[in-house]
Structures are given as structure tokens and as C-alpha cells.
Symmetry: C2
Subunit: 340 residues, 2 copies
């Protein structure tokens, strides 16, 4: 297994080190190559993602990314030039984001709320395509546009993937989240595709929820969701709220998958580079370790994935309340549990 | 004061009756004309918003709407043909949505969270313009687009309004919510306008928050927000979450304002027509009554507005825990309190 590693900025390298510790514990054969990308490289060389690096990345079985970004880089530069470029170039059309409230984790909601959902967010279309522009800049007649592109090809493959995942889960329930009553063109395509693909999955029950209503349900009744399929922008919004109600983005894992396996998929914690705590040894590596579980699952090693997940669940259930975790200590414990 | 009233469907007529009870208590001179619009009329006549009705509506000082909609009407028909058509035809560019967790109201969040924010949502642009289309429908080459239109004219007027409101509030804080790192064209325009208008309001402190991060803050630290200004779609999403964390859309009021006063503004509860409880006399009219307070404020009657709000605050603080409200009883109490 050849893994490309992009530690990135801030706490990125710290959490990635722990992720790799856990990974090599369960998969000793893993070979890693590090790539220096992110804010630091951009400051030093002006480079975001050189073509030669992209070519090398393609030669790997998967990519593990820590976090990139720094307040000193103008907004949009690393996002469009590195993170989104990777997703688009490597055709990461399935952006997989589980949200689970683990026993022992205090969520922000009052009462007992069970959260165990899997958001399948489209990753290569929608309002993220960068299509649009500005006309008559800096005049009172200025107009700025953003175009959301949705193709049958792109929607069908992600909807199909979501149905397959729903079919493999105990509750077999899928919810389309969109805003079909306002975005009627894209909404029509999404609804039609969900209806069409659902015919092939008669055992999966299907629901629809407007994105605004989803906000309410996520804080009053998150247990109603099992698999959620949604577009790129709604997925961005829904997954941060889903992460928040399941204990915070400090625990949220993600996979950027090319499910056709033409390109390597990329796994990363949802959190950012948190420059304020970088170097203090207090960053929680759990989201990275859970991303490693997604990586193992994607590589066809479900048993190893299950062991890593179980290690996280055990660790979270038995952490001392209020104890501030030390990055390395948590990594050591998770690695020991996962390979025991 | 000439008020057009659109009771609408489901619980709409029930909550509107109580809103009018409170309104006529504090403003005996109000003259109302009812307009029959919504699902019932559409079923009966196929009409959504006849031009003659739109012309008559324009002759009023304001509009009070209950709720429209019914599961028997295909999604999108009433939204685009009636609700959004009203907003666009009457140039309701400031969609005003306060979210306040009143003492005595149980929110969904654990711990003591103070929520007292005002979302100023743009109402006539963004992805709501209906611009877009479908190419090669029902083929594997189908493409659906949605175009978000953002003009300097449209952004500037709503940002200015938000600053004016922030300036009049004790905390004088304004947050722009957007996704400038991905929607770079529209994001650039919004950011530039906020920066520009902020020069005229040196006493208002300004923050920026990505829409996905706003999801997290709204459930972990909603108290950080004072005035939020945002685009039409982000506003739709943020206001439902803000309403949820302040006790639910059963309490959420809104005003669709033409702040130039060329056209009548429209006031409505954020909730829908709730056909499941229509006719049972249990719908909570509080959101409608709070919308009446927004109406009074807009019409230049801030003292009357304050009395109505105070009546609601008193009622919520003293409601029997668990007592199911009766629509009329709540309306009677609020009317008595507000005109006492
Ligand atoms: C950093 C940004 C481009 C990214 C996104 O919007 O997808 C992030 O918010 C995420 O969810 O991975
Ligand atoms: C009904 C719908 C068109 C509307 C919107 O999306 O604006 C509603 O959700 C709202 O927030 O008033």
C-alpha cells in the first residue's frame, strides 16, 4: 500500500503523525511518501499544487491530509488552488462524512439524542465548480454571478453510491437534502435521479428534506437521519452541523472518494489547521484516526477499519471527563487498542 | 392604516386572527382587507397571484400573511408562483428575521445559551432569482444549472440596512455570513461592500464567518452573533437554525421589507401551514404576533411594537410548563397584555 501524506500546516503534521501511528499498527506494510503542500510552501515558493506533484500523487493508492491553511494566506487561495483543485483533478465525487455521537462524548444538545448518520456529499459539481464572474467591477453597476452545475452523470453516480451505502446499513434509510422548491432546475434533476435509482433499491426507504428544515431536525431530532445525500454546498453546510451535534469537528472524519478507483482517494479530518494550538501538543488526533478508518474501508480492509473505529469508541467512552488529551498520548492509546 | 391580510391555508387563518386581535388592540384605526390566496384558491381556480390582486395589494400600507401551502400542491408551485413572486414584485429586499431565546422558553441546546440576534437576509437576489435551466432533459447528458445573481445595487442596500440596525442595537456588532473562499465572485462583492459601508459606521464592529462555521457557532456559541447579514440562500438556512436554537420556528417572526417604502412590506410567521394541526385550535399564534410587532416597528410605531414584544416576553416567561396553549386563549392574553 503506497500512501501519499500531506501533513500541511498548523496542527496538521501533529495529527497526521498519530494517524500514521495507528495505520502502521494495523497495516505494517504501508509505505508513505510525504508531500509538502499548504500555506508554508505557498509563502516560501508561491506554489500551491505543482503539476509534477499532482502527477506523483496519482501514483499512490490513497492520500492522507492533515490540514492546510493559515490566517496569513488570503481567503480562497489554498481552498481553490489546493484543496478544491485536488478534489476536482482527482475526481473525488463522493465526499463521505459520517457523523456519530459516540457514548461518552458530550454533544451540544439537551437530552439524549442519538446521532448516527452518514452524509454522502457530492464533491465535484454544484456551486463549487468556480463557474461565474464579475462584470463592471467597482462600479455601481457591478454584477457577480455563481453558477451551480449539476449533471445527470455527476448526480447519478453519487446518488447510486449513497443508495449502496444505505443498503448496507441496518436502517436502510436515505434522505435527499436539497431546496427543490426554490432551486427548481437542479432540484428537479436531483429528485428525478433519486426516484430512478431508488427503483433498484426497494429495501431502502427514501425521504426528502429541504435544507432549511434539515437545520431544525439536526438540532431537534438528528436520529431521523441515516444516510443523507446532497449537493456540494448543502453538504458543506449540513456536515458541519452534523459534526457539531455529534461532539464537534474535532471528531469529524471525511473521505474524498473517487469510487471508480481511477484516482487515489483522499482522507482528511474536517477540522482546520488550528494555528492557535499548533505546537502545544493538545490537538485531538481522533478525527484523523477516524479518517484512517475510512481509508482502510475504502482500500478493502473493513476488518482493520472496524478495529480502528472500535478503538476510538472505546477511548472516547473511557476518557476521563474534563481531561485535556495530549496528542501523542491519545495516538499511542488508539494505536495500541487498534492493533491489540 | 390599510392592511392587506392573506390568511392562507392550514393554521394560517387561525394564527392571523390572533395577530389581528393584538394589532387592533394597540392600533384601533387599522382597516383590513382579506385576500384569498394559497393552496385552496389554486385548487379551486388554478390562480396563484392574479395581476389584479397584486395591484390591489400595492394600495395597502402593509401585508400580513399567515401561511400558505398544502401537501396536495406540488412542491415549488406556491413557492415560486406566490410567496417568492410577492417578494420579487414588491421588492422585499430586506428579509428581517430576529431570533431570540426568551426567558421561560426551553431551547434544544444544553446549558445556558443566550440567543439574541437579528438576521438581515437579502430577499431579491442570489440563487433565488430562478435563473437557470435544464439541457438535454431525461438523457444521460442532462445538465441543470442555477445561477446566483448578486448586484452591487442589491448587496449595498441590504448591507447598509444591516449596519443601520446594528448601529441601533446595544452591542453594535455585525457578522457577514457567506462562503467567500469557494464562491469567490459573489463573495468578493459581498466582502467589498461590507468593508465599504463599514467606513460609515465606525461604531459597529464587523466580523466574517463562513456559512459552514456559522452552523457550528449557532449550536455551540450563538451568543456571539448580534446582527447577521447574508445572502438569500444562506439566510434561509441560517434563519431556520437560529430559530431552532431559540425555541423553534413556532416562535419565529419575519418581515419582508421594501425599506425604500415604494411597496408595502409583508409580515409573516416563519412556520408553515401545519395542515396536521389545522382546525384543532392548538396552533401557537406567537410567531404571528411577533410579526405584528415587526409590522408596527416598520410603520413607525416603535412604542406599540415594544408593547407587543413585551407582552410576548411576559406570556412566555409565565406560561405553565407543559401547558398546551389554545390558539385563542394565547391571542386573548397577548392582546390584553399589549393594550393594557
Ligand atoms: C475549506 C473548504 C474549501 C472546504 C469546503 O467548503 O468544502 C471545507 O469547508 C470542507 O468542508 O472540507
Ligand atoms: C417557502 C420558501 C420559498 C421560503 C424560502 O425559501 O425563502 C421559506 O423557507 C422561508 O424561509 O420563508
Amino acid at each position: 500500500m503506497k500512501l501519499a501524506v500531506i501533513p500541511g500546516d498548523g496542527i496538521g503534521p501533529e495529527v497526521v503523525a498519530e494517524g500514521l501511528k495507528v495505520l502502521s499498527g494495523v497495516l505494517p506494510s504501508v509505505q508513505t511518501t510525504e508531500y509538502d503542500l499548504g500555506a508554508a510552501r505557498w509563502h516560501r515558493t508561491g506554489e500551491l499544487l505543482p503539476d509534477s506533484v499532482l502527477r506523483e500523487l496519482r501514483e499512490h493508492d490513497a492520500i492522507l491530509l492533515g490540514a492546510v491553511g493559515d490566517p496569513t494566506v488570503p481567503s480562497g487561495i489554498l481552498e481553490r488552488g489546493l484543496l478544491l483543485r485536488l478534489r476536482f483533478e482527482l475526481d473525488h465525487h463522493v465526499n463521505l462524512r459520517p457523523a456519530r455521537l459516540y457514548p461518552g462524548v458530550a454533544g451540544p444538545l439537551a437530552g439524549d439524542q442519538a446521532v448516527d448518520m452518514l452524509v454522502v456529499r457530492e464533491g465535484t459539481e454544484g456551486p463549487y465548480v468556480g463557474n461565474g464572474g464579475i462584470l463592471r467591477k467597482d462600479t455601481p453597476q457591478e454584477i457577480a454571478t455563481e453558477v451551480s452545475l449539476n449533471t445527470y452523470f455527476g448526480v447519478e453516480r453519487v446518488v447510486r453510491d449513497a443508495f449502496e451505502r444505505a443498503h448496507r446499513r441496518p436502517r436502510r434509510h436515505l434522505t435527499l437534502v436539497h431546496k427543490t422548491n426554490v432551486l427548481t432546475h437542479a432540484g428537479q434533476l436531483w429528485s428525478r435521479v433519486v426516484e430512478e435509482v431508488s427503483m433498484e433499491f426497494p429495501d431502502v426507504s427514501v425521504a426528502y428534506c429541504h435544507v432549511d428544515a434539515a437545520m431544525i431536525y439536526l438540532v431537534t431530532d438528528p436520529g431521523r437521519f441515516d444516510v443523507v445525500v446532497t449537493d456540494n454546498l448543502f453538504g458543506d453546510i449540513v456536515t458541519d452541523l452534523a459534526a457539531a451535534v455529534s461532539g464537534g469537528i474535532g471528531l469529524a472524519a471525511s473521505g474524498n472518494l473517487d469510487v471508480s478507483r481511477t484516482n487515489p482517494s483522499m482522507f482528511e479530518p474536517v477540522h482546520g489547521s488550528a494555528p492557535d494550538i499548533a505546537g502545544t501538543g493538545t490537538a485531538d488526533p481522533t478525527a484523523t484516526v477516524l479518517s484512517v478508518a475510512l481509508l482502510l474501508d475504502h482500500l478493502g480492509l473493513p476488518d482493520a477499519a472496524r478495529r480502528v473505529e472500535a478503538a476510538v469508541a472505546f477511548d472516547l467512552a473511557t476518557r476521563q471527563p474534563g481531561a485535556v488529551g495530549r496528542t501523542q498520548a491519545i495516538g499511542d492509546r488508539l494505536a495500541a487498542l487498534a492493533s491489540s
